[in-house]
Structures are given as structure tokens and as C-alpha cells.
């Protein structure tokens, strides 16, 4: 299917690769379907989480484990149910970035990761009880 993206014009996206957020993304609850675009090459971060239904919202996302190796968190029973995952399910984690004019000041939200059930392509943004930062630096130390 063709989608209109915020940053890359019209793009062709395989329908089977659309990710569904049953509860939307926090603050953007009305948008439930997103495509994960990799403009820098297959599986190369940062990637773009683009709403399928409209140009916006669109989020730049990173793999938080690539930047913060010891990053880890628990997923509550309720969230596991929503995502239809258990300890053995394949899932991946994305961190939403704020990209300012000076890219070196880019930060990612470690407190509210997006967890994607990669088998069923269901995702949710969860708020951790662990006290990670909402704005953790990507390219330079705090």
C-alpha cells in the first residue's frame, strides 16, 4: 500500500509490515497504525515510525539497547496481555527521539519505550516504573 510520509514523500509499504497500536501512542491515541521505515538501510537505526493514516505523527526511533547496553525493564501482566506476549515471545524495543536542530543534542525516551510484539505486529508505549530518563542523550554525554 502507498502511504504519505512526513519526511520521505510517498512510500510503498508492505501491508503485512504495518504495526498496530491498540491504544495508540501516548498523546496520539487516535492513530493506531504505523509503519517502521528504515531510510538508512535495512534494520539500521535511527528508524522512522510513521503513521499510516496521516503524515503526522511521525517519530524518529532508536534501539535503546544499542546506545545503553545495560537498559532493561519489566513488562507488567496487563501490558503483556495487551501485547499478547510472554517471556518467550519475540519482541523488540524502540525509544522515541527528540531531534533538535543540533542533532548532537538528540535525546531518547528511556522511561516510555515502545514494545513491539514482532510476531503479531502489535505494539504499545509503556511507562516504566523503573526511573529511567525521559530525555537521555544519544550522541553526547548529558
Amino acid at each position: 500500500m502507498k502511504i504519505i510520509t512526513r519526511d520521505f514523500g510517498e512510500q510503498e509499504v508492505d501491508e503485512s509490515r504495518i504495526i498496530t497500536f491498540p491504544e495508540g501512542i501516548i498523546g496520539f491515541e487516535d492513530k493506531k497504525k504505523y509503519a517502521l521505515l528504515s531510510p538508512l538501510g535495512d534494520e539500521v537505526f535511527p528508524m522512522w515510525l510513521q503513521s499510516v493514516d496521516a503524515k503526522e505523527p511521525c517519530f524518529v526511533v532508536y534501539d535503546p539497547m544499542e546506545i545503553y547496553g545495560d537498559y532493561k525493564f519489566g513488562i507488567s501482566d496487563e501490558e503483556q496481555e495487551l501485547l499478547r506476549i510472554d517471556e518467550n515471545s519475540p519482541y523488540r524495543c524502540l525509544a522515541v527521539a527528540i531531534v533538535p536542530e543540533d542533532y548532537r543534542k538528540t535525546t531518547i525516551n528511556l522511561r516510555c519505550p515502545i514494545v513491539v510484539n514482532t510476531k503479531d505486529r502489535i505494539a504499545a508505549q509503556i511507562i516504566l516504573t523503573e526511573h529511567y530518563e525521559f530525555k537521555a542523550p544519544v550522541y553526547e554525554e548529558g
Binding site: L40, E56, V60, V99, Y103, N109, C112, I127, K135
Partner: protein, 77 residues
């Protein structure tokens, strides 16, 4: 900030119609109950921060995105 000390099952009342009760005191957390009129919105403070952070994230400028892409493409080469 008004600071009051409360024990389990004790409460405070705000503006006559909002009652906040301490239900349980654990080692490093407390469970509180809130009785408020339906029109009073109660959210965990993290949710407000989460919303604001997402809002900022969704508003990257075209030039900031272009610069980020340029930097990463240079890195590859």
C-alpha cells in the same frame, strides 16, 4: 507545598469534594485511593511527562531531520 503526615486509612480532603486516602504503606511505596467528581481528571504524573516528551518528539523540524540523515549517511561512507 503543604506537607501533612497521615497514617494508613487516614485521608485529606481538597476543596470539599476530593478525598485522598492512604490505603497501604509499603517499604518503598504507598497505595492511595482518590475519590473525586467524575469531571476531575486524575492521572499519574509520569503520564503528563510522557505526553509532553512525545509531543516534542513529534515536532521535529524538516531541517533537523535533514541534518540527522546527512550525519548518518556520512558515517556510513
Amino acid at each position: 507545598m503543604l506537607v501533612v503526615t497521615r497514617k494508613t486509612d487516614e485521608s485529606v480532603i481538597i476543596a470539599d469534594n476530593i478525598e485522598i486516602t492512604v490505603l497501604e504503606i509499603g517499604k518503598d511505596k504507598v497505595k492511595i485511593g482518590i475519590n473525586a467528581p467524575k469531571e476531575v481528571k486524575v492521572i499519574r504524573s509520569e503520564l503528563k511527562d510522557a505526553r509532553q516528551t512525545n509531543e516534542q518528539a513529534a515536532h521535529a523540524s524538516g531541517s533537523a531531520i535533514a541534518e540527522l540523515l546527512k550525519q548518518h549517511k556520512q558515517e556510513e561512507n
